[in-house]
Every structure is written in C-alpha cells, then in structure tokens.
Amino acid sequence: MNFAVWAYILFTFSLVVVFVFIIFHYYNPRRKKEVEAPKHRMLDDDEGR
C-alpha cells in the first residue's frame, strides 16, 4: 500500500471519529434539556397571537 492509500484511510478514519464524537456529545442524555431548549423557545411568539 502506498502513501496515498494510507492518507485516504487515515483521513476517513479521523472523519468518522469526529462524526461519532459529535453524535455522542449531543446525544448525551445529560445535555438533552439544554440542547433541545431552543426548539421550544422559538415557539414563544412575543406578539402574543
């Protein structure tokens, strides 16, 4: 295997790691309330109609 193949594998692998990290970070139950808060806040219309 040459350099390019290793570079591709390494790059793909690090992308997967970052991706998995982001998912675990935001899907951590401890953060749920905080992360989901904006979707409720945005429904409070300050026009009161």
């Binding site: 991706f19 982001i22 998912i23 935001y26 899907y27 749920k32 992360v35 989901e36 808060a37 904006p38 979707k39 409720h40 806040r41 945005m42 429904l43 219309d45 300050d46 026009e47």
Partner: protein
C-alpha cells in the same frame, strides 16, 4: 418585547421583489421552453436561446431565490433574536441595490455580456455590486445576532450564518477575473482549474441558495405555522455540520469523465453519497415533527406545502448522488435527466417552501388573514401537478436521449445520429411547455393572493404596518 419596532417593511419589500422576479423568470422560462421545439421564437439576437437561458437561470436563482431568502432571513432574524434589525436604513439600501442589480443583470445578459460560467455569468462590475450588497446584508445579520435577546441561536439562524459566510467565499473565488473593458473580462483560472473552480462554485451556490437557507425557512416556518416543536434539535445539529462540511467536496460530480484529475472525481462521488445522510436527517426531522398531528395536512393549508417540499428535497438528495455515480453519469449526464433533477428541487422544494413562508409572513405582518385560502390551495395543486409533469417528462426524455446516444448496431456503428436524438424529444418538450403553463398559472394565483392580502389589510387600516 419590542414587537412594534420590528422592521417588517423590508420583509414586505423583498417578498414582492421575489414575486416580481419569479414571474419574469418564469415568462423567460416558458419562452425558452417553446424555443426548444420551435426555433422560430429566436426572433432577435437578444431573444436567442443562448442568451435567454442565462436570463432564466439568473432571474430565478438570484432574482426570485435570493429575494425570497432575504425576505425570510430578515423576518426570522428579528423573530429568533427577539431584536429589531440594527440597521433598518441599511436594509432599505439593500432592497434598492438588490433590485437595481437584478435589473442590470437581466439587461446585461440580454446584451450578451456574459462570462459563460454557470450562475456566475455576470460581468465584473456587477460582481462587485453583488459583493457590496452581500456585505450590507451580512452587517445587518451579524449586528442583529450580536444584539439578540435570546441566549441560544435556533438552528435556522445557523443556516443563515453558514449561507452568509459561504456564499461570500464562493462568489469571490469563482468570479476572480481580469477586466478587458467595462463589459468583458477573462477568468484568472485556465482550463481544468477553471472548470474545477466553477463546479465547486456551481454546485455549492445551488447548495447554499437552494438548500441551506430553504432549510432555515423549513426549520422555522414549519414549527411556527403548526405550533408543533421541531422533532429533534440535536438531530438538526448533526445534520447541519455534516451538510456544510460535506457539501464543498462534491462539485466534481458535475465533471465526471472529463479531463479533471480522477481522484477529485472519486472524492466528489464519495462525499455526494455521504450527503444523503444529513439531507435525510432534515427530511426525517420534518416528518417526525408532525408525528401524531398528520391531520394538519388537511386542516392547515400551509402544512402540505412544507411536507411536499421536504419530500421533493428528500427525493432530490437521493437522485443527485445516484446520478453522479460513474456508470449512471455516463448515461445521464448532458441529457434532460439533469434538467428534470434541478427543476424538482427548484419548482418543488424551493418554491413550495418559499410559498408557504410568504403565506405565513404576509398575513402575520399585515395583521389580517390571508385573502383566500382556497386560492392558496388551488395554487398548491397547480404547482404540484405542473412540477411533477414537468420533471417526469424530462426524466423520460433524458433516459431516451441517453439510450439513443449509446445505441449501436450489431456491426458496432452508431444507430442514431445526433439530430435523431434531439428531434425525438420534441413531443416531450411540448408536454414540458404545457406543464410549465400549468405551473405558471399557479404562480400567478400565488402572487395575486398576496397582493390582495395587502390590499385587504390596507382597507382594514390606514396604516397597514401598525397593527
């Protein structure tokens, strides 16, 4: 909060600018659709297909698309920040500048001042004007966001930020050119590099005009018009970052089997396939938001626009990566299949979402109800049927032409000459034109409905904006 100080004048201005350019762009579209089966409509040099096609794409992409985005962005920005626009007069300048630019763009393209790079055809003086306009918009976006009264930014605001940043980068990089005179310039890039830069731009300008801000609208207007909270804000976070990361790698799928280095093409396909995931993240988020409340499809006239819109988005984001695969691109590329693909997105996803957003905003800011929900429903069905017939016809035509190009006789020679392949499409072009008329009728009703809503509100109150 300071509800009365929200600048809705600007939202209204951009809404009606969008409707105006939508109608102009569609008339040009119908004109060129007719030329495709009857060249007699190439009446003068400035009405010839080569020039008009560019007026059509720019008029709708930049005229209608951008105006719709500006209207909705200014609305969402104020609502989601709970802050009035920081520079309302700058926004007004933005509105005037925008319409002057689009009018000059149309005139200059009619005149043949054209750099040839798709969706970046405007010559350099207008490019500079576009950049100035974009900076004016960005100043208001960031100033309002910095002053906002809401701690966390909702997902729609992220999409607006990503669009603001990315379009600036795309537009400037692809439009770097050396002027010859006021009306003519040469790209700074040559050959393969120029192609690579152009399709990096071409793919992403579509992505960051017809996907990213439209998703911002979808994520905002679907919840507020149904009263249902978004299914998952966490899912939208994952979708957002994966989408904007992966998008920029994929331009090369427009250049499959060309002299572009093969590895760029392969990387382009890989990321295109990956893009299905974040795209469907948004689709699923939309569908699940309606969980248990699907009866709103019937009871709330806006919901069907959103749901059909996101469905076309979902279909398109599967079709796009698939047709980029080498085997399929060798068959479909350069045929009408791709034209059908684009129009499912623009006539389906983009227009339906913007339609619903306008239907939501205009009654809201005028303080009266929509002029006619029945007309809105007729509008929906006309553009749905028009679009479906339009795109399916083009797919069939594309398959037919692709097959005719590849057909060989037993002795290995080509079965059809080029002209056979194009002449065989004329029946499809006639159907496409008819479908375009149906679609156009729907759009006329759309514009009429909004104009009458404004009229109605003016009758109710002398000061329409002071609810």
């Amino acid at each position: 909060m300071k509800e009365n100080s929200y600048d809705y004048q600007i939202v209204r201005g951009f809404t009606f600018s969008a409707l105006f350019w939508l109608i102009i762009g569609l008339i040009v579209g119908l004109w060129i659709a007719f030329q495709m089966f009857n060249p007699a409509l190439n009446l003068t040099p400035w009405l010839s297909f080569g020039r008009l096609r560019v007026v059509h794409t720019n008029g709708l992409g930049l005229g209608f698309g951008l105006a719709g985005i500006f209207a909705c962005s200014y609305y969402m920005l104020q609502k989601l920040s709970r802050t009035p626009l920081v520079f309302p007069r700058l926004a007004k300048a933005h509105l005037y500048l925008f319409n002057v630019i689009i009018a000059l763009a149309a005139l200059s393209l009619f005149a043949g001042m054209n750099t040839s790079k798709e969706y970046a055809e405007l010559e350099w003086p207008l490019d500079i004007a576009v950049v100035v306009m974009w900076v004016i918009f960005a100043i208001n976006v960031f100033a309002t966001l910095v002053k906002r009264q809401e701690k966390q930014m909702y997902v729609s605001l992220w999409y607006i930020i990503a669009m603001t940043v990315t379009i600036a980068v795309l537009y400037i990089v692809n439009n770097l050119e050396v002027p010859v005179n006021l009306f003519k310039s040469y790209s700074v890039y040559a050959g393969v590099n120029d192609a690579n830069v152009q399709w990096w731009y071409g793919h992403n300008i579509v992505g960051f005009i017809f996907t990213v801000p439209i998703l911002a609208m979808f994520y905002y207007f679907l919840p507020v018009s149904t009263g249902l909270p978004l299914f998952s804000h966490r899912l939208s976070i994952i979708s957002f970052w994966s989408l904007i990361f992966a998008y920029l790698w994929t331009g090369a799928h427009h250049l499959m089997l060309t002299p572009l280095p093969e590895w760029i093409q392969t990387v382009g396909i890989a990321f295109s396939i990956f893009l299905i995931a974040p795209s469907w993240g948004s689709v699923i988020n939309g569908y699940y938001t309606l969980r248990g409340n699907w009866e709103q499809m019937r009871s709330n006239y806006l919901v069907k626009f959103f749901i059909l819109g996101i469905t076309f988005y979902g279909l398109q984001t599967i079709q796009g990566p698939t047709q980029g695969l080498r085997t399929l691109t060798s068959f479909f590329h350069y045929t009408d299949w791709v034209i059908g693909h684009v129009h499912m997105g623009t006539m389906g996803w983009v227009t339906m979402t913007i339609s619903a957003a306008f239907y939501y905003m205009i009654p809201k800011i005028t303080g009266t109800g929509l002029y006619s929900i029945r007309i809105a429903n007729v509008h929906f069905w006309l553009i749905l049927v028009g679009q479906l017939v339009w795109t399916v016809t083009m797919w069939i035509g594309g398959i037919q032409q692709g097959a005719m190009w590849k057909a060989t006789d037993p002795d290995g020679s080509l079965t059809y000459n080029f002209l056979d392949s194009i002449a065989s499409l004329y029946p499809y072009y006639k159907i496409r034109f008819a479908a375009g008329i149906v679609y156009f009728a729907g759009i006329i009703l759309f514009a009429w409905n909004l104009v009458m809503t404004i009229r109605k509100s003016q009758e109710v109150k002398n000061q329409p904006l002071n609810r």
